[in-house]
Amino acid sequence: MAAPDRLAVSFLFSRECPSHEEGLALLRAAARDAGVDLDLTVVEVLTDAQAAELRFAGSPTYLIGARDPFASAAPEHAFQHDACRAYARPGRRIGPLPHHDDLVAALRAGRDRA
């Protein structure tokens, strides 16, 4: 249970994807810019069974207040621990991490819901 003034965020990652450290740094920077204090849980996904249990959409996944702000209707593959996640980025680009501004907006929305 997060402290009342902190936003519960889970960062799910796999070491199979090289973006996890950058993704965590991105989260911290976005939280700073959103003015949000994080109650952060970092979870390394190690097996397909764990991926299925967590409905892991790929590394990294951000759960903000238990919600996945970047969820897509249909994942492109089954839940697997070594999946890297695709994020839509400005300019109709795809990349391995969300854009900073999108993560800031997601954190603000999460804070407003809490």
């Binding site: 890297c84 994020y87 990349g95």
Partner: protein
């Protein structure tokens, strides 16, 4: 274990999405060959796709042959099936053949582990460069153009200044 710089490149003959075949032997006249391990689903491939295609297009004018090979297990990753590959190649208008390796022998022979991961072969088909396409998934943040630099060197008959960089991408999805 990956090929070492200077090693002779293993040959291959694979079906492509346009109904043909891609083989190293058929590229004998090219002054350089780019072999890229590729797939559909990986966000790193998607991030580099446009840039890689532009490089293939541009260097084809200098005679460079490029082939992309998808060896990912299509059972666990149906988005990388031959049919999905054909759709992606057509949709994006790839300037290079997109080949399928169901056996997964070619990435094993090259020692490839990720997508995208590129191997540049010189005129003698020895490995001249191995690694990433450039130094950022974000096209606006690129400062070093590894693949272009390697091709420029090979076309000039020189060894690339930087022959190896760490490939950045998804792991190749081996059959389980």
């Amino acid at each position: 274990m990956s090929l070492a710089i200077g090693d002779p490149a293993p040959g291959f003959r694979l079906p492509t999405t346009t109904g043909g075949e891609a083989s190293l032997a058929a590229m004998a006249a090219a002054p350089a060959v780019v072999v890229a391990f590729w797939c559909n689903h990986c966000p790193y491939v998607r991030a580099w796709e446009e840039r890689f295609d532009a490089i293939a297009r541009e260097y084809a004018d200098h005679g460079v042959a490029t082939v992309a090979i998808c060896a990912n297990d299509a059972v666990s990753h149906p988005g990388d099936s031959f049919e999905a590959m054909a759709a992606r190649a057509a949709e994006q208008g790839y300037a290079f053949p997109y080949a399928r390796d169901d056996s997964q022998e070619v990435p094993r022979a090259y020692g490839a582990e990720r997508t995208p991961e590129v191997f540049v072969l010189d005129r003698e088909r020895r490995l001249a460069y191995h690694g990433a396409i450039d130094d950022s998934t974000d096209p606006d943040a690129v400062t070093v153009h590894h693949l272009r630099d390697a091709l420029d060197a090979v076309l000039a008959g020189e060894a690339p200044e930087r022959a190896e960089t760490p490939p950045v991408g998804c792991t190749i999805k081996w059959a389980r």
